[in-house]
Amino acid sequence: MTLPGGVHAETYAQDRALIRTPWQWLWFAAFVAVLLLLPFLRPGGAVGIATVIGITLIAVLGLQLTSGCAGQINMGQSAFMGVGAYAAGALAVHLHWSFLMTIPIGGISAAVFGAVFGLAALRIKGFYLALTTIAAQYIFTFAMLKLPKEWFGQSEGLRMDPAVLGSFAFDTDNRIYYLVLAFAALMTYGAWGLMRSRTGRAFIAVRDNDNAAEVIGINVFYYKTLAFFIGAFYAGVAGALWAYYVRYVQADQFTLWLSVWYVGMLIVGGMGSILGAIVGTVVIRLLQELITVVGPQITDLLPTLGGQFVFAAMNMLLGGLIIVFVIFEPRGLVHRWNIVKESYRIWPFPH
């Protein structure tokens, strides 16, 4: 880690702190303020986008833990999210449980489903594992569409009432935004703490070399399963929040394609750090939004391109972005930013 000039840690606690300088505190406070005041600053569309970003972020954070930290490639994150959404949805619809119960249970259901693949990771490695997690997608879709209609509604899905707390219903965009914001903050903090704990270090040992990790006494089996468990838990929570946001759960919302995107967000942001997950999610989601805004205008100007052009252009742009990142900046945007910042700080004396 690089430190700003003149900052020295005098205690261990200081050394581990996330935020080190007064300026950083100021930026952080401003950022929090903007998040809290967003519905007043920019009501309407922005709030919806921010809500989706928040939900996506939770899923991508989970993927960061499984893939970025513990090195287990996971292409089933969207299916895990779906499990969480369905579990929370079914409990809310059939048993009328509070979201305070259904969201954690959604997370745990997904975690259990995900842990099954963690068990597989003990034997199956590399590409074989990545491809095995794709099976999660197919099994999930099949199960949700085929299990008894009274449970998950089959192809009709589940329609949900808004989340309520006492007599307060999260039934407007702004209200659900705050709910998601609270969860996103909590889960980010959780991931941050996890990465700095014993568990986080064990994850990294397993990622870097699982044979060596085994030799120094790390229970690789346990940590691989745990990595999938926790990663899928995040996905499950994100899915449950999604269910309360759109108030409708259906298997088609959770596609393999979405999992592919989550992986893409990680690559662009940077593997292995919380900030990477945040940056990747925000940048790609905003780009997607930008294209949906700009796209129709381009289509208006050049009608021959057709309406689908937007979607297509988005894929080209973002697919190209991922390729470029893997080739030129495999450590992601956050890394690039650090380099830029570093050279700025020591300018004009680079050596």
Binding site: V260, G264, Q308, I322, V326
Partner: protein, 294 residues
């Protein structure tokens, strides 16, 4: 009874088609140690190439198909040269990522170039059904099944008997050693991508012959995935057997389980078999096991 037989026989043919697509994965994996997630998209590009040449340019079959095959070889080589080449020596993760990026990118290109509409894929192969006793088969699938067997035999021969093929197998084993023996590793890998592109387009023709298609035909890439994994990512002959196993199991599953689940078993069943097989043999039925003594 006939219907069970027919399900199983048609399942086997489907399995062989999957095997053909799976072979295009395996050939790349064998030489480059890269699993190409974008393979399904390459199948779609091949399909659209054939469609464009025949329906839009009105070329006759005998001109259009070879041209499309040539173009798909070039596409494979191009991908290797431009993208994969610069990643030599990188970690596994980088390859997963870059082919995922490629998957997204090619889908974008396909949509820009050909749009999302349903197109009618020309009947390159004869359409009349084949009847054997009471069983009825799609003629393209029968031809495709036979073709898969021929291609597999040819590939097996190529990789085990010819000098170029042996060199490519050596590349599959160990890049550094191959290099030390004077084998141009990157060229071998480019050849593999070319062959793989060719097989993808062949598969597209068999799969889509005379049917409607959209960019979503790329799903066949993922459908063929269990076949490649179940067989093990190194074995050409194994892929054919894997295809037959999956196909026949699929036929049986559709016959016995579809009435219970109201259809749809075919999509998930191969994945279930795959996970079970991999848990027992993590490198597939016929894949290379790590030989421990060294």
């Amino acid at each position: 009874m006939t219907s069970l037989l027919s399900q199983v026989a048609n399942g086997a043919l489907t399995g062989l088609l999957y095997a053909l697509v799976a072979m295009s994965f395996v050939i790349i994996y064998r030489s480059a140690r890269v699993f190409n997630f974008a393979q399904g998209e390459i199948v779609v590009v091949g399909a659209f190439l054939v469609w464009t040449l025949m329906s839009a340019f009105d070329l006759p079959v005998w001109a259009a198909v070879p041209l499309a095959l040539l173009a798909s070889v070039l596409l494979g080589v191009l991908i290797e040269r431009v993208i994969l080449r610069s990643l030599v020596g990188e970690e596994l993760f980088a390859f997963v990522m870059v082919t995922i990026g490629l998957l997204i990118f090619i889908r974008g290109v396909v949509l820009v170039a050909w749009g999302p509409e349903v197109r009618f894929f020309p009947a390159v192969l004869p359409m009349a059904a084949v009847k054997v006793g009471a069983l009825v088969f799609d003629r393209a699938m029968v031809i495709g099944g036979a073709l898969t067997l021929v291609v597999a035999a040819a590939m097996s021969w190529f990789f085990n008997r010819t000098q170029l093929g042996l060199e490519m197998t050596a590349v599959a084993e160990d890049h550094q050693t191959a290099l030390s023996l004077g084998i141009p590793v990157t060229r071998s890998i480019a050849v593999a991508w070319g062959i793989s592109g060719l097989l993808s387009t062949v598969a597209a023709i068999i799969f889509l012959n005379g049917k409607g298609m959209t960019f979503l035909a790329s799903d066949i890439g993922f459908a063929a995935l269990p076949v490649a994994l179940l067989a093990g990512l190194e074995s050409i002959g194994g892929v054919v057997l894997g295809g037959l196993i999956v196909g026949i199991a699929l036929g049986l599953a559709s016959y016995f389980l579809d009435p219970i689940f109201n259809g749809g078993v075919a999509a998930v069943f191969p994945f279930v078999i795959m996970v079970i097989v991999l848990l027992i043999r993590p490198t597939g039925l016929f894949g290379w096991k790590t030989i421990e003594r060294i």
